[in-house]
Amino acid sequence: MVRLADLPQAEREGHLNRIPTLPQFPTRPFVKGPALAQRRVAIVTTAGIHLRSDQPFDTGGAGIDYRVIPGDVAPADLVMSHASVNFDRTGFQSDWNVVFPLDRLKELVRDKIVGAVAAFHYSFMGAIPKIERYEPKARELAAMLRNDGVDAVLLSPV
C-alpha cells in the first residue's frame, strides 16, 4: 500500500477526485540560498500533532491554525488530534520521527551536514477542503520563521 494505484478503490478515488478541486498557483517562487551545511532548518508538518497541553485541532474550528512545537520538545510530550482517520497512526505512536523527524535533523546538524535546527517548529492539520485557506496563517508563520533565522523548511504531510 504505497502508491495511489495500490490503495483500496474508495481511497484512491477520494484522492483522485480531489485533483480538479486543487487551486492553481499563478507564480512559481523559487528561493535560492546557502549550501545545506549553512542552512537553519525548521520542520512544518500537517500531521495535526501538538503538545499535550495545547488545544486539540479537531474541535470544530476552522482547522487552519497552527501549533508551535519547541525545538527541545520531548517525545513524550507530543500527541496527535488530526481529524482524518484515513492514514496510519501506529508509526507515530511507535516513533515520532516517522512523522516529525526532529531527531534525524539534529543528527544531521551534529554531523555538520545541516547548519542548524530552528528553535521552533510548527504543526498544522491537513485534510482541509480548501487549501488556499492556509494562506494567512502561512504568511504569519513566515514572519515567525524569519525571526528565528530560518532559511529552509522541511514540509512533512501525513
Partner: protein, 250 residues
C-alpha cells in the same frame, strides 16, 4: 503541504515538501517536492529505523541545492517493512487474564476489554520509555469507554472539557480510545502491520462494535455537526469493505 510551500516561498523562505500523493504534488507544483512511496501517515517511511529515515530526510533537504524549479523527484527505495520494526526484547505481560465475556451489554463488554488491555498498555509505555500519545482528552481509557457508550444511550454524556462542540468531543474521545487500543496491541506478541491492527480493532473488538454503533447514531442525529462523524471521521474508508463483507457473511 504544497500550498504551504508556495506561500512560504513567496515570503522568501526556501521549502522542500515530502509528497505522499504524487498526483497532488504534480497538480500543485510546489517549489521542491520529494515523492516517497510510503503509506499515508508515514512520510519518513518506517518507525524505528533511523538510518532509513535519515536517507529520506537527506534526499529531501538536498533538493534545496537545486538552481531552478519546480522540482518533483522520486525517492525510489521502498519502506523495508510495514509493521513497527524489531522489538528489541521479548515483551510479555505478567498478568493472567480472565476469559473475555461474550455476554453482557456493549458497555460492559467494552469495559472488560479496556480493563484487560490496561496491562498491555503499561507494557507499551515502559517499552517506549514512558512515552504514550494518550492525553488529548484528559480521560482515562475506562472513562473514555463510559463516555462513548453514553452516546448510545438515551442520555447524552456530560462534556468532559469546555469549549468543545459535541461532535468534536465525541471525535476526540473516539480517537483517543482507539489510540489506547493501538498502543496496547503494538506490544502484544508478533509483528503487527497497520492493516492487521486495523482489522483487529474493527472486526474483533467490542470497541470496534461500539464505533460502528456510534457512526450509525451520528448518521441519525439531528445535530448537523454529527454528519461529519457519520461520513468521514469515525470509520476509515478502508474499513467499509471489511464491515460490508462481514455483514454479507453473517
Amino acid at each position: 503541504m504544497s500550498a504551504l510551500g508556495h506561500y512560504l516561498e513567496q515570503e522568501g523562505i526556501a521549502t522542500v515538501s515530502i509528497s505522499l500523493i504524487r498526483e497532488h504534488s504534480a497538480a500543485l507544483s510546489p517549489p521542491r517536492a520529494l515523492w516517497v512511496p510510503f503509506m499515508l501517515g508515514r512520510p519518513m517511511g518506517v518507525p524505528n529505523d533511523p538510518a532509513f529515515q535519515t536517507r529520506v530526510v537527506l534526499a529531501a533537504l538536498e533538493l534545496l541545492d537545486r538552481d531552478a524549479g519546480p522540482v518533483l523527484e522520486d525517492f525510489t527505495e521502498d519502506a523495508p517493512y510495514e509493521d513497527l520494526g524489531d522489538v528489541p526484547e521479548a515483551l510479555n505481560c505478567p498478568v493472567s487474564f480472565p476469559r473475555m465475556r461474550s455476554d453482557g451489554s456493549l458497555g460492559e463488554r467494552l469495559a472488560d476489554e479496556i480493563a484487560q488491555l490496561q496491562a498491555w498498555h503499561e507494557v507499551a509505555r515502559k517499552h517506549n520509555h514512558g512515552r504514550t500519545t494518550l492525553g488529548v482528552t484528559g480521560l482515562s481509557p475506562l472513562q473514555l469507554g463510559v463516555y462513548l457508550t453514553a452516546w448510545l444511550s438515551d442520555t447524552l454524556p456530560a462534556p468532559y472539557r469546555e469549549g468543545l462542540v459535541p461532535a468534536g468531543a465525541l471525535k476526540l474521545a473516539a480517537d483517543e480510545l482507539k489510540t489506547f487500543y493501538y498502543e496496547a496491541k503494538a506490544v502484544q506478541p508478533g509483528r503487527h502491520s497497520p492493516a492487521q491492527v486495523l482489522e483487529w480493532f474493527w472486526l474483533d473488538t467490542a470497541a470496534g462494535e461500539a464505533f460502528v454503533a456510534l457512526r450509525d447514531m451520528a448518521a441519525n442525529s439531528a445535530d448537523p455537526g454529527m454528519k461529519g462523524i457519520a461520513t468521514l471521521s469515525l470509520v476509515p474508508r478502508a474499513v467499509m469493505p471489511l464491515l460490508a463483507a462481514r455483514q454479507a457473511g453473517s
